[in-house]
């Protein structure tokens, strides 16, 4: 049986990087094919080539036995290829309907847009996905999960024969992900061939039929999913055995030493009042579903947004956190959840990104920056978090997602911070890098740093945190510790007591 899609000996270089080298991949009709690899392994690049967004330097794309020559996404669409992008491809100011049908509007007899028709069609898609999303507000005002569903609905509406899903579950809760898998199974029945990219091993074993593993731009292996195990795949991916991605559990917390005491914090005048204590050397998890208000609290805490009322003390002294700069001065740092829009200065090199808020360290008697010292420090920090980059001068935009994340982490390591808030630090990050980041966090707590980790991944919260605050609808529904910190109780509180 000829495969539906066959990528043959694809190679691709970017200036200074060989992103893909002689990669081949077959996808059959009615197959879900997992694409697995570390950050920067070249997965997204391969898929963008398939969709005509990049052009391969060498190799062929063969669909139904015919070699295709794509000069843009439109050509790929016409050949029946659709993609759910890793980075959203939605227009923030347009509403759901306009986004879904962008470029393929339904028209009425006058040739004008047939909005009622499109709303009907969109409603059908949402019903199929079992979601209800408002149709006429700009999607910028929707939650990230809703936006992800719109992205999925958009791809579904293409009626593609080959559907690429590039990390679609990174922003979904487990139950939302399950809806998506149901849809994928339906599509499988309809003989659609799918490529599924995810860093979640259990998802791959839930939904996929075959798997291709990539490493450093090359294909390492492909096999049927039934003939392999997660550990096996991880070894192929990382090139070594990863025994346990979480560091040995050891509590560095000193529960007699409260570093940050949030006595009362209200974000909106009418909103709920939060109170919370963070101890020295502790890792406090913020658990909850996407959109449950964890980021909002963190941003309010460091003064990135103006809270309506705040009574906070740091090491026993009352403090006013009006701006991230005050927070920085007091030794509180935030690693934001969206590295591209909130974390990185994309035109900057790795070095400039890392030293951004440390520059005063490199000043001498005159307020001039000592470049040499700056570069050395940046290089050391990059080495300590193992950023994969040709040099500290490499533009940060050229790195893969995981490495970009490490650059932002390195920025905060340059400070003697007492409190670090990590907002979804491992979103879209491969297993190897994840375990490195976890180890790093443990190292920090051993030095007496306190950490708040916002995470939507239960295993992460369970594996790393000493204590967890569970959020539901903008409130802290529970604080769990010790025995109580288990997946049942977290899910119980995170869903407002519905799932007990």
């Amino acid at each position: 049986m000829t495969p539906l899609l066959s990528l043959r000996h694809i190679s691709k270089s970017f200036p200074g990087v060989k992103a893909l080298q002689d990669v081949s991949l077959d996808v059959h009709a009615g197959e879900v094919h997992a694409l697995l690899g570390e950050n920067g392994a070249g997965k997204s690049t391969l898929m963008k080539i398939l969709c005509g967004i990049y052009r391969q330097d060498e190799g062929d794309i063969i669909i139904d036995g015919k070699t295709c020559d794509f000069h843009g996404y439109q050509d790929a669409l016409n050949a029946g290829v659709g993609i759910i992008f890793q980075e959203f491809s939605l227009i923030p100011d347009l509403d759901a309907v306009d986004n879904i049908f962008l470029g393929r509007e339904l028209r009425n007899r006058l040739g004008l847009r047939d909005r009622p028709g499109m709303i009907r069609e969109a409603q059908r898609l949402f019903d199929r996905l079992k979601v209800s999303i408002p149709m006429d507000c700009p999607i910028a005002e929707l939650s990230v999960a809703d936006q992800q569903f719109i992205e999925i609905a958009k791809a579904l509406s293409l009626d593609a024969r080959i559907l690429v899903l590039d990390e679609p579950t990174a922003t979904l809760t487990p139950s939302e992900a399950d809806h998506l898998f149901t849809i994928m199974r339906e599509l499988r029945e309809q003989q659609v061939g799918m490529v599924f990219i995810s860093h979640h091993m259990e998802e791959i074993f839930t939904i996929c039929d075959r798997v291709t593993v990539m490493r450093d731009g090359e294909k390492v292996d492909d096999c049927d999913i039934v003939s392999t195990t997660p550990d096996d795949l991880i070894e192929k991916m990382v090139g070594r055995r990863v025994e346990n991605i979480f560091p040995e559990h050891r509590c560095d917390a000193d529960y007699h030493d409260v570093v940050l005491d949030i006595e009362a914090l209200r974000l909106d005048t009418n909103g709920p009042e939060h109170s919370l204590k963070l101890h020295r050397g502790e890792i406090l998890g913020f658990a909850g579903l996407v959109g449950s208000g964890r980021t909002e609290l963190a941003m309010g805490l460091i003064g990135a947004t103006r809270p309506a009322h705040a009574k906070v003390s740091m090491e026993g002294k009352p403090v006013k956190l009006r701006h991230p700069a005050t927070a920085l001065k007091l030794g509180i740092g935030l690693l934001p959840e969206s590295r591209k829009t909130q974390g990185l200065i994309l035109p900057f090199s790795c070095r400039d990104n890392i030293s951004l808020n440390n520059l005063t360290q490199f000043q001498g008697a005159l307020p001039l920056i000592r470049r040499g010292q700056e570069s050395r420090t940046a290089a050391e920090l990059m080495a300590s978090v193992r950023v994969k980059a040709p040099s500290p001068e490499t533009p940060v935009g050229d790195l893969s997602g995981g490495n970009q994340q490490k650059v932002v982490i390195a920025r905060w390591l340059g400070h003697q911070c007492k409190v670090l808030i990590f907002d979804e630090p491992t979103r879209g990050i491969d297993v190897g890098a994840k375990s490195e980041i976890y180890a790093l966090m443990k190292e920090l707590t051993a030095q007496g740093v306190s950490i708040i980790m916002i995470s939507s991944e239960l295993p992460e919260v369970l594996g790393l945190c000493d204590r967890a605050a569970v959020f539901y609808h903008g409130r802290i529904a529970a604080e769990l510790q010790g025995e109580d910190l288990n997946s049942q109780s977290i899910m119980h509180h995170a869903t407002g007591g519905l799932s007990s």
Binding site: I53, G72, Y73, Q74, L77, F85, F88, S89, L90, I91, P92, D93, L94, D98, L102, G103, R104, E105, R107, G111, L112, R113, K130, V131, S132, I133, P134, M135, D136, S143, A145, D146, F149, K154, L289, G291, H473
Partner: protein, 326 residues
């Protein structure tokens, strides 16, 4: 949580809901601002609210309003067109020159409009296909268009136009003066284009996220080319009215009009960064500028002080309408 939410409102809350939605459209604050200034002017000034002055006001606002309609498109896509003033002058002088050379008025007008469209397309090619920033492209072509107009006329205004040509600037149809009628026509077309066609959606999409729009399979460059062509065309239409009103082709006309047009668009609630705005807002913005000019003139405010007052009111208006976005 998303599963639980909203089934769009058909219930009794719909009125307050509709009001809330209306408040969130980009024209809400501009319209309020316009009404406030309008009433203020009417109260201060006896001569303001006469029907002849209303016609006068609309006629005066029409040229900037028409230019601003094209400017809206450019700004909506995240661009800008600084060349509108000189393009207006160039098209106008070409029309005048052709007529004086004996070309029949209708043909001369068509050719003049084509010159504007072609110049706009020239801008568009650089913006869309060479990927150069619109502000720079049109800054450069601004000088080019002005130079061409001056070379074409030798620097002197072209006069001696056929009497029937006065119709477009001084005539009226169905009791409405032509400049006002043309302005209404331009805005009607703009409204349908932006709100009821796929093309209009694409323009919003390009301004909102150009890369994502491209990834949706839309040929962004073509639409950008269209936008600048249309902006050149509206500038030429303004040139038609101006030339007909003045009954002479003025190569030096339109200095600073780009700034007035930008002000109209932004006063109309559009985001200067693109992706957000309504064409009717621009009309409101242009009329607001018109009311200010006319009202301050009627009040006999010194021309020097007028600059200051206009600037402060624009600042205030934008400040208020900004507040809403958190």
């Amino acid at each position: 949580m998303s599963q639980l939410a909203s089934t769009p409102g058909t219930t009794r809350q719909s009125l307050s809901l509709r009001l809330a939605r209306w408040r969130r459209t980009p024209v809400f604050y501009p319209l309020i601002g316009f009404i406030v200034v309008f009433i203020a002017m009417a109260v201060i000034n006896d001569n303001f609210l006469t029907s002849s002055n209303m016609v006068n006001l609309a006629r005066q606002a029409s040229i900037i309003a028409i230019i601003a309609a094209g400017m809206s498109l450019a700004i909506l896509t995240g661009g800008i067109d600084l060349s509108v003033g000189p393009v207006m002058a160039l098209s106008g002088t070409v029309m005048a020159g052709l007529m004086v050379a004996g070309v029949p008025p209708v043909l001369a007008i068509v050719l003049g409009l084509l010159v504007g469209a072609a110049f706009g397309a020239f801008n568009g090619v650089f913006v869309a296909f060479a990927g150069m920033p619109p502000i720079i492209v049109t800054l450069a072509t601004m000088g080019i268009a002005r130079g061409l107009g001056l070379i074409y006329t030798g620097g002197y205004p072209i006069s001696g136009l056929p009497q029937e040509f006065a119709f477009f600037g001084r005539g009226s149809l169905a009791g409405i003066e032509m400049p006002i009628l043309i302005m209404i026509g331009v805005y009607a077309i703009g409204y349908v284009l932006l709100s009821h066609t796929a093309t209009g959606r694409y323009l919003y999409a390009i301004g909102g996220n150009e890369e994502a729009t491209r990834l949706s399979g839309i040929r962004v460059s073509r639409y950008k080319l269209l936008v600048y062509t249309l902006s050149g065309t509206t500038a030429a239409i303004a040139g038609l009215i101006l030339t007909s009103r003045l009954m002479s082709g003025q190569p030096n006309a339109g200095v600073g009009f780009e700034l007035d047009a930008i002000a109209a668009v932004v006063l109309g609630g559009a985001a200067i960064t693109g992706g957000r705005g309504m064409i009717l807002g621009t009309l409101v913005g242009a009329l607001l500028l018109g009311v200010l000019n006319n009202g301050l003139n009627l009040m006999g405010v010194s021309p020097y002080l007028q600059n200051v007052i206009k600037g402060l009111i624009i600042l205030l208006a934008i400040y208020i309408s900004r507040k809403r976005t958190p």
